[in-house]
C-alpha cells in the first residue's frame, strides 16, 4: 500500500496510474482505451496507402504519379462543363424557335434569356457599353429610352447582328454625317451659329452674341434633311434627336462644334458570324429589358 502511493506514476488520490505527463504539477491520469481502437488507427494508415496507388499522389520532377484509375480533377471539371453545355442546349432549343416577344411572354424562357443575355453582354458588349449597359461618351447608354437606330426588339436584333457602319456588310446600319468643318463645307462662324441653334432647339441657353438667324438658316440648309426641321431626328438614318435631354457626345458648345466640324460616325461590330443566333436573341431580350425597350 505504501509502496503504491510513493510511486510517482500512481496518482495518490485515485490510485490510478498516470501517463507521466505533468503540467504545473497537474498529472494526466492514464485512462486506457480499448486496444482495438489503436488497431483501427493503424488500419487507417494502411488504407491511406491505397490512395497512393489509386489516386494521383506523389510529386515527380515534372509531373505526378497518375494513380491506377486515371482520376484527374481537371477531367471532372470538363465533364461537368460538358453536362452544363448539354443542359443549356436543351434550354436554348425553346429559344431558337421563339421570337423575342414570345420569349418575353414566357417567364421560364425569359429568365433563361436574361441570364444568358447578361453573361453574353458582359463578355462581348460591356467593353464599350459598360457593365449593365450604362454606356459612356460615344457609347450609348442602353438603359434609357433614346435610340439612334430604333429600340424595338427587331431593330435591336438587327443592330446586334450587323453592327453599325461595318464595311462589307450590306445589312449594316449606315449613314454618314459630313465633317462640315474639316471638309470646308461650312465656315467657322457658320458652325458656331448652327451649334447655337442646336442648343436653342434643345431648349438650352445660348450666348447673347450668338447669330441665331444664321444658325437657323445653316441648319435648314445642311442638317434638317436628316435631323428633321424641328431636330427630332430620324431612326432610319441613325440621326439623333437633338431636342431631348440625352446626347451621346455632349451638348456644350465645344462638343457641338467638334461634332459638326469633324462629325462622329461611331461604329459597332456586327455579331452575326461571331455569336450564334440564340445568343443574339438572348442579348436582344436582355438589352430590350434594360428599361428603354420599345
Amino acid at each position: 500500500m505504501d509502496q503504491k502511493y510513493e510511486d510517482p506514476h500512481v496518482d495518490a488520490a485515485t490510485g490510478m496510474a498516470t501517463t507521466g505527463h505533468e503540467w504545473d504539477g497537474i498529472r494526466e491520469l492514464n485512462t486506457p482505451l480499448p486496444r482495438w481502437w489503436l488497431y483501427v488507427f493503424y488500419a487507417t494508415i494502411v488504407w491511406s496507402i491505397g490512395y497512393w496507388i489509386v489516386y494521383p499522389a506523389w510529386p515527380l520532377l515534372t509531373d505526378t504519379t497518375k494513380g491506377v484509375i486515371g482520376y484527374a480533377s481537371r477531367a471532372e471539371v470538363s465533364a461537368d462543363m460538358a453536362r452544363l453545355k448539354a443542359q443549356r442546349a436543351a434550354q436554348a432549343a425553346g429559344m431558337a424557335e421563339a421570337t423575342p416577344a414570345q420569349i418575353k411572354a414566357d417567364p421560364t424562357l425569359f429568365q433563361i434569356a436574361m441570364a444568358q443575355g447578361k453573361a453574353a453582354f458582359g463578355d462581348n458588349c460591356a467593353a464599350c457599353h459598360a457593365v449593365g449597359g450604362a454606356g459612356a461618351k460615344g457609347y450609348p447608354n442602353l438603359n434609357d429610352d433614346d435610340w439612334l437606330w430604333g429600340g424595338s426588339p427587331a431593330a435591336i436584333q438587327q443592330t446586334i447582328r450587323h453592327g453599325i457602319r461595318v464595311a462589307g456588310d450590306n445589312d449594316t446600319r449606315v449613314s454618314q454625317m459630313p465633317a462640315f468643318g474639316r471638309d470646308g463645307m461650312l465656315k467657322r462662324e457658320e458652325i458656331t451659329a448652327v451649334a447655337s441653334h442646336v442648343r436653342e432647339l434643345a431648349g438650352l441657353p445660348t450666348e447673347p452674341k450668338a447669330d441665331l438667324a444664321l444658325g437657323r438658316k445653316v441648319y435648314a440648309d445642311n442638317c434638317a434633311a436628316c435631323h428633321g426641321a424641328a431636330g427630332k431626328g430620324n431612326q432610319e438614318l441613325g440621326a439623333p434627336n437633338l431636342t431631348d435631354a440625352i446626347s451621346l457626345y455632349g451638348m456644350d458648345m465645344a462638343s457641338l462644334t467638334e461634332t459638326i466640324a469633324n462629325s462622329r460616325n461611331g461604329v459597332m461590330p456586327g455579331w452575326a458570324g461571331r455569336l450564334d443566333e440564340t445568343t443574339i436573341k438572348a442579348l436582344t431580350v436582355y438589352v430590350h429589358s434594360l428599361g428603354g425597350g420599345q
Binding site: D7, P8, H9, A17, T18, T19, G20, N30, P32, L33, P34, R35, W36, W37, L38, K104, P107, F110, A130, V131, G132, G133, A134, G135, N141, N143, D144, D145, D146, N241, D244, A245, I246, S289, L290, G291
Partner: protein, 484 residues
C-alpha cells in the same frame, strides 16, 4: 519503472477490450425501457410514411427534409433556408432540456432515449435470443466454437445486419417521398446517393449498436464528461444507498449480526447489479462516467431484496444529499425545485416562447430590394430620372399569388416591372409561383422638374391582390444631384 520517473513506456496506454455480457432482467424499469424502445423505433421507422396534405404544389409527407428544393417540412411547419435559425432554437431547447432532466433525474436521456441505448438494447435482445443469457454466452465464448455456436452467431449477425439495413433505409426516407423511394429502392432505380447512405448507416448501426455498444458511451460521447460537471448533490441519480447497504455481509451473517444488535448492511454482495449492467460497471462504486443510469440494476437488486425479505430499492433514484442526511440521522428531502432547475425551466420557456412567437407571426410573403449599380441612374429623353432595382418577391404560401407593386416617397414617382403586365390601375402585377420566389427588374421613374438631391429614400410596397398581405422595403433613389 525508471528512477528518473519520465520513462513511461511500460505503462499500458491501451486496455485489452473486456466484453460485457449483460444478463436479462425484469422489473418496472426494464418494462419502461421496452415501451420506450417500441415507441421510439416505431416513430423512427414509420414516420416517413405519415401524410400531411399541403395542397397540389407541395409534398404531402408529414416530415421531409427536401434538400433538392431547399425546404424542410414538419407537419404544419415549413422552413425555408433563411429560417434555419429555428434549428438553432431547437438545439438550444434540446440542450436545456438535457440539462434540466439531468438536474432533476440524472441521465434520463442516456438511460432510456439515446439512439445508442435504444439500438444497443434491441441488438442485445437479438443476441440473447440466439446465444442465450449471460452465462450461456460466456460459456460459448470460452469454449471452442462448435456448429451450434457458429450458426447461432451467424444468425445473430445476419439479423443485426437486417436491422441495421432497415435503420439506414428508414433514414433516407426522410429526404424524399417515402412511398416513391421505397418503390425505387425495390426496383433498383433509386439515386445512387440513397444506396450509399443506406450502406453508411447500415455500417454505423451495425458497428455502434452491435460491436461497440458501451464503448461509445465510455470513450466517444462527450455528454458523460459534461454531465459530471453539471450534476449536484440534490439531483436524483441511480444510486446505491450505501448508508443502508454497508457493511456487505451474507444473508446468514446479517441475521447473526442483527441478532447481536451489531450493524449489518442489506447488500449481500450477490453481484446481480453488475451482471445486468449494460456497461459492465459496479453501481456500488458510486456515480461514475460509465453509468448510463438505465435503472436495470434497480430491477435486479429489487428482485434479490424481495427474495431475501428485505425492503426493495437498496439501489434507487436518490440523491447524494439524502444519503448524507440519513447517515446524519435526518429525514430525506427531495428538492426538484432548485435554483438551477428553475433557471433551466425559465430558459426553456423563454426560448420556446420566442420560437412559438416567431412561428405564429411568420410572414408568408417577403421582399428584398437591391439597387442596380450600373448605372446608378438614367436620364430619359424627357429629362425624367430613372433608377433600376432587382426586386425579389417571396411567396411562402402553396398557391399562386399576384403582388401589385407601388412606390412612394417623391412627387409623380412611377414604378414598372419588366415582364409584369400592369393592372387596371397601372400598378405592375408580379405573380409568384406557389412556395417560391421570383426576381423582377423594377424601374422607378421621377418626372423632370421634381427637385432631387444626390440620394433620397423611397419605399417600394408589394401587396397581395387576394390575401391583402403587404410587404415594404426602403431603398435609395439616386439622381444627378446638385449638379447644374
Amino acid at each position: 519503472m525508471s528512477s528518473a520517473g519520465t520513462d513511461q513506456d511500460d505503462i499500458p496506454l491501451f486496455a485489452a477490450s473486456r466484453k460485457v455480457y449483460p444478463q436479462s432482467v425484469s422489473g418496472p424499469f426494464r418494462r419502461a425501457k421496452w415501451i420506450i424502445l417500441f415507441l421510439c423505433l416505431g416513430i423512427y421507422y414509420l414516420l416517413p410514411f405519415l401524410r400531411w396534405d399541403r395542397g397540389p404544389y407541395l409534398p404531402d409527407q408529414a416530415v421531409l427534409a427536401d434538400i433538392a428544393n431547399n425546404r424542410f417540412y414538419f407537419f404544419f411547419i415549413e422552413i425555408w433556408p433563411q429560417e434555419v435559425y429555428y434549428f438553432t432554437g431547437l438545439l438550444i431547447l434540446a440542450s436545456f432540456a438535457l440539462f434540466l432532466t439531468n438536474a432533476v433525474a440524472g441521465r434520463v436521456w442516456c438511460g432510456y432515449l439515446c439512439p445508442q441505448t435504444v439500438w444497443t438494447d434491441l441488438f442485445l435482445a437479438v443476441e440473447r435470443f440466439f446465444e442465450g443469457d449471460r452465462r450461456e454466452r460466456m460459456r460459448r465464448d470460452a469454449e471452442p466454437w462448435g456448429f451450434d455456436t457458429l450458426w447461432r452467431k451467424s444468425a445473430k449477425h445476419a439479423v443485426w445486419l437486417v436491422i441495421a439495413w432497415w435503420t439506414g433505409g428508414a433514414w433516407v426516407l426522410y429526404f424524399a417521398d417515402a412511398p416513391t423511394l421505397v418503390r425505387e429502392l425495390a426496383t433498383f432505380t433509386a439515386p445512387l446517393s440513397a444506396y450509399v447512405w443506406i450502406a453508411i448507416l447500415t455500417f454505423t448501426t451495425y458497428a455502434l449498436a452491435g460491436l461497440m455498444r458501451e464503448q461509445v458511451c465510455k470513450y466517444m460521447c462527450p455528454w458523460p464528461r459534461i454531465q459530471a460537471a453539471l450534476t449536484d448533490d440534490e439531483a436524483l441519480n441511480v444510486t446505491y444507498r450505501y448508508d443502508r447497504g454497508e457493511p456487505r455481509v451474507s444473508v446468514k451473517q446479517a441475521a447473526k449480526l442483527r441478532a447481536q444488535g451489531a450493524p449489518a448492511g442489506d447488500c449481500v454482495d450477490c453481484f446481480q447489479c453488475v451482471a445486468v449492467c449494460p456497461t459492465g460497471i459496479d453501481i456500488r462504486d458510486g456515480a461514475q462516467i460509465d453509468c448510463i443510469q438505465c435503472g436495470l440494476c434497480i430491477d435486479a437488486c429489487d428482485t434479490v431484496m424481495s427474495k431475501i425479505g428485505r425492503p426493495t430499492r437498496l439501489i434507487a433514484y436518490d440523491t447524494e444529499g439524502n444519503i448524507q442526511r440519513r447517515l446524519a440521522g435526518l429525514a430525506a428531502i427531495y428538492r426538484p425545485l432548485r435554483l438551477r432547475t428553475l433557471v433551466y425551466a425559465a430558459l426553456i420557456a423563454v426560448v420556446g416562447g420566442a420560437m412559438l412567437w416567431q412561428l405564429a407571426t411568420r410572414s408568408t410573403a417577403g421582399m428584398s430590394v437591391l439597387h442596380e449599380r450600373t448605372p446608378l441612374f438614367v436620364t430619359l429623353s424627357d429629362g425624367s430620372i430613372r433608377n433600376a432595382y432587382a426586386v425579389r418577391l417571396l411567396n411562402k404560401r402553396p398557391e399562386h399569388r399576384p403582388f401589385a407593386l407601388t412606390v412612394s416617397g417623391l412627387p409623380g414617382i412611377r414604378i414598372e416591372a419588366i415582364g409584369a403586365p400592369p393592372s387596371a390601375d397601372l400598378r405592375p402585377v408580379v405573380t409568384v409561383d406557389p412556395d417560391s420566389s421570383r426576381e423582377v427588374r423594377v424601374l422607378v421613374t421621377v418626372p423632370a422638374g421634381v427637385p432631387l438631391v444626390a440620394s433620397q429614400v423611397i419605399t417600394i410596397t408589394a401587396s397581395d391582390l387576394f390575401a391583402g398581405e403587404t410587404v415594404r422595403a426602403d431603398d435609395h433613389f439616386i439622381a444627378p444631384g446638385t449638379q447644374p
